[in-house]
């Protein structure tokens, strides 16, 4: 398995788990404390985002250390073609999400609901990118 495919698997799993836990916690907290402070909210978001940052950096470092010195070619035209396809598809998913968040939600929702909808759009676009990347390496 190529490092880029491996990273796509790890990143996809991390996004699903971290954002899944974050949004599950947001829902659960709504019943416990319907009006949390700004610090509570931003703290939870900071924990989720910094966890993702640590996972991304650690995975990149691990994959770089694991690279064998015998394989000189680390990235080629197929990698770039797969990345281009994945990024293009994810871009349209992100555009749809951001159009919804930016053009519709300000008239019906406020504050943190808009922030969470934007976060969900970004997370879904990233997951789509990972899925297309993995599929690209598996199916050609």
């Amino acid at each position: 398995m190529l490092p880029k495919e491996r990273f796509a698997w790890v990143w996809m799993t991390a996004l699903v788990v971290v954002f899944g836990l974050y949004f599950a916690w947001i829902q659960a907290r709504h019943y416990i404390d319907p009006d949390p402070t700004f610090l509570d909210r931003i703290g939870a978001l900071a924990i989720a985002l910094s966890t993702l940052a640590v996972i991304a950096i650690a995975t990149h470092l691990y994959l770089r250390l694991r690279r064998g010195g015998d394989e000189e070619v680390q990235e080629d035209e197929r990698d770039r073609a797969i990345e281009l396809r994945a990024t293009t598809i994810a871009y349209y998913v992100l555009m749809a999400g951001i159009c919804y968040v930016g053009c519709m939600l300000p008239f019906t929702e406020t504050g943190w609901n808009i922030v969470h909808a934007a976060l969900q759009s970004i997370a879904i676009a990233e997951i789509v990118k990972c899925v297309v990347t993995v599929r690209g390496y598996r199916k050609g």
Binding site: L2, E71, E72, D76, E77, R78, K139
Partner: protein, 77 residues
């Protein structure tokens, strides 16, 4: 284009060239071993430039390495 696919004889040419490995061919043309495997399996069509580089390694013309064939020859794909 429906009904046609890009086939190749890279595997046979590698063995004819002293059992050259996929990694070795990859190094010589600037591709990863996995990409060479994908090209051989017909899962990935290389760019024209890369196809010429592969043909160059085996000192063959492009049409001696790559063929535009009917998919009827590959019913599983």
């Amino acid at each position: 284009m429906p009904g046609k696919r890009l086939a190749n004889d890279i595997r046979a040419l590698r063995f004819a060239a002293g059992e050259m490995t996929q990694a070795e061919l990859g190094k010589r043309v600037g591709l990863t071993r996995q990409t060479i495997a994908a090209i051989e399996a017909g899962k990935y069509s290389p760019t024209l430039e890369c196809a010429f580089r592969i043909a160059d390694v085996f000192e063959k013309t492009l049409d001696a390495v790559f063929k535009w064939e009917d998919t009827d020859h590959f019913p599983d794909r």
